[in-house]
């Protein structure tokens, strides 16, 4: 700094000198963090050794000694003797090769499984489009409605020459994505309304209702809400009215997720200084303008991490529908394992399922961090 004379009142940036060599760069980082003392160097080397050993044995098991295919008998029954011999030495990925269609699409008619496959692709496309900020405008709602309609048509069929397929035959990944996507897509707006209602000062009845809803739902495990939806709910319906099991589970899921998300959103609303709302009011904005233009954009940004945390949690909680007899991805994994030849290869199946779940959840968490950074940059406090 010393070489530049700074006069009072100038707004010229002050010239800064370069740091001495060895302060920045990967080598400097490694020296500062991994090898800055004898003890630290020893721990680093020990950990590198352990990690390498584990990695080598994992690669050995998962790839080098893995068995990818098994021979089939004339009747189509797999001969798993080679897998049995390799047990403990190499993974038997043949179980995935044999069962992936069942795991991914359940008991959906085999020849029609291109339909749920397209649906999964549509869901993923929908997520990608929704994730991009340049698509954040009113048309996005239409894209959602359109895509979800197409997905419904593809799954049910019965029109455009598609064979009708009852929901009873749906299963696997489409069920998981349907429950999670519809669930969160409806639960999120519901949550915002409930959170706003819970903070309403002018409508005590609405506030009471919102508090009651949140506290009741939160006081009950998700499993029991699902049980109620599947067992108790039909008892209250007039005879002859039969709401489909998937729809009932979906509604239960929306109500449950809504209560949790509402509390997250409320946290964001409470964190905003009161002055923001007052400034909006003083400018003559109506309640909904003030809420939509000033309060929610800021409040929701504040709660991106807990929101995504809840989203990820509920994505995985969709697997609880197992107990009311819906066949989601995880349940289909169990079903696949009940086939006698594959009985003892649960590890491989569960690893494959874990990879699918992780892919979705990791994408969500990665995206949320990017979004936080991007929105945070705009504020630059």
């Amino acid at each position: 700094m010393g070489d530049t004379a700074v006069t009072v009142g100038t707004i010229e940036p002050v010239a800064r000198s370069r740091p001495p060599p060895g302060i920045v760069g990967p080598w400097a980082w490694a020296r500062a963090n991994l090898f800055n003392s004898w003890l630290s160097t020893a721990i680093t080397l020990a950990l590198v050794y352990i990690i390498l050993r584990l990695a080598v044995s994992l690669v050995d098991w998962a790839f080098v000694h893995a068995i990818w295919h098994v021979p089939y008998s004339d009747k189509g029954v797999p001969d798993t003797s080679s897998c049995q011999r390799a047990k403990g030495i190499g993974a038997c990925w043949a179980v995935i090769a044999d069962k992936y269609r069942l795991i991914l699409f359940g008991r959906y008619p085999y020849d029609e499984q291109w339909r749920p496959a397209i649906c999964v692709a549509l869901f993923i496309g929908l997520y990608v489009v929704s994730a991009m900020r340049r698509f954040w405008r009113k048309e996005l709602v239409l894209i959602w409605i359109g895509t979800l309609t197409v997905i419904g048509v593809l799954m049910w069929g019965g029109v455009f020459g598609l064979t009708p397929v009852s929901e009873d035959y749906w299963g696997g990944l489409p069920i998981t994505l349907i429950l999670a996507t519809f669930g969160l897509a409806f639960a999120f707006p519901l949550a915002i309304l409930v959170a706003l209602g819970r903070r309403s000062t002018s409508m005590p009845a609405v506030r009471m209702l919102c508090v009651l809803y949140v506290e009741l739902i939160r006081g009950v495990p998700l499993i029991s809400v699902l049980f109620m939806a599947s067992v108790m709910f039909p008892l209250f319906m007039p005879a002859g009215v039969n709401i489909d099991k998937l729809l009932r589970a979906q509604i239960a899921f929306i109500l449950f997720a809504g209560a949790y998300l509402a509390e997250v959103v409320r946290g964001g609303l409470q964190a905003l200084p009161k002055g923001q709302a007052e400034a909006g009011e003083a400018l003559g904005l109506t309640y909904w303008q003030k809420t939509g233009l000033i309060i929610l954009p800021q409040a929701l940004r504040l709660v991106i991490p807990p929101l995504v945390n809840t989203f990820i949690g509920f994505f995985k909680d969709t697997s609880l529908v197992l107990i009311i007899g819906l066949f989601d991805l995880l349940t289909m994994g169990k079903v696949a394992l009940s086939d006698p030849p594959w009985l003892s290869f649960a590890t491989e199946v569960y690893i494959a399922l874990a990879i699918v779940y992780t892919a979705f959840c990791f994408a969500m968490s990665k995206y949320s961090r990017g979004l936080e950074r991007e929105l945070g940059r705009a504020h630059r406090r």
Binding site: P273, L283, L285, Q298, A378
Partner: protein, 268 residues
Amino acid sequence: MVARTGAEGTDTMSQVASPVLEGPSAITLDKVNKWYGTLHVLRDISMTVAARERVVVCGPSGSGKSTMIRCINRLEIHQEGRIIVDGTELTDDLRSLDTIRREVGMVFQSFNLFPHLTILENCTLAPIWVRKMPKAEAEELAMSYLSRVKIPEQARKYPGQLSGGQQQRVAIARALCMKPKIMLFDEPTSALDPEMIKEVLDTMIELAESGMTMVCVTHEMGFARQVAHRVVFMDRGEIVESGSPKRMFEDPQTDRLKLFLSQILRGH
């Protein structure tokens, strides 16, 4: 005291020594009372502000001056008495409230700019959504006011990138973009670093010279002396004394004002 003689603006005004403004009243408060729970924060406040008049409200903290000014655009709700702004009485009727808030601009102690919007968007938000102005027109209007508060070059930045003084000037421009008839200032310089107070006061003085009706809660006695037609002194929820700045500062009538002035002046 002068301000308590009645609701008729002209009557009140005629008794004020310094520049007398005749004309219709912009704001009338008639025996306004307000309680927070059991705490009586406004006691029988009666005051009239004429159109184009500039009133400075001062008083010790907790005297109710902020509450009083916030009642004028109903950020606080009074429980007794009447408040009439620009010919419309403040009631629970939402339509009258919208009308009034459109005509009354407010500047807060803590600026309250919207941090997620650019300076320009802060200024165009209300004209676009409340006045239904086309975006291009609103931006042109906003730029003209930003030029007037001397920060047009900051229009694309976010509030967090500006200094306190600049933020407060943006807040003034934002309020002006609604073309209000009345401007309320709630301690606009109290949250500022000393070196930034002047730039905000200069902006307010310029606004005063343009003939805006202003009610300003402030401790800046120099500002009061320079621009106010009338100074109102409040203490413990009531108006104790009011009059021209010269008369108030040089010849305070009540002990409470004398005490307040001595405390204020000691601080400077």
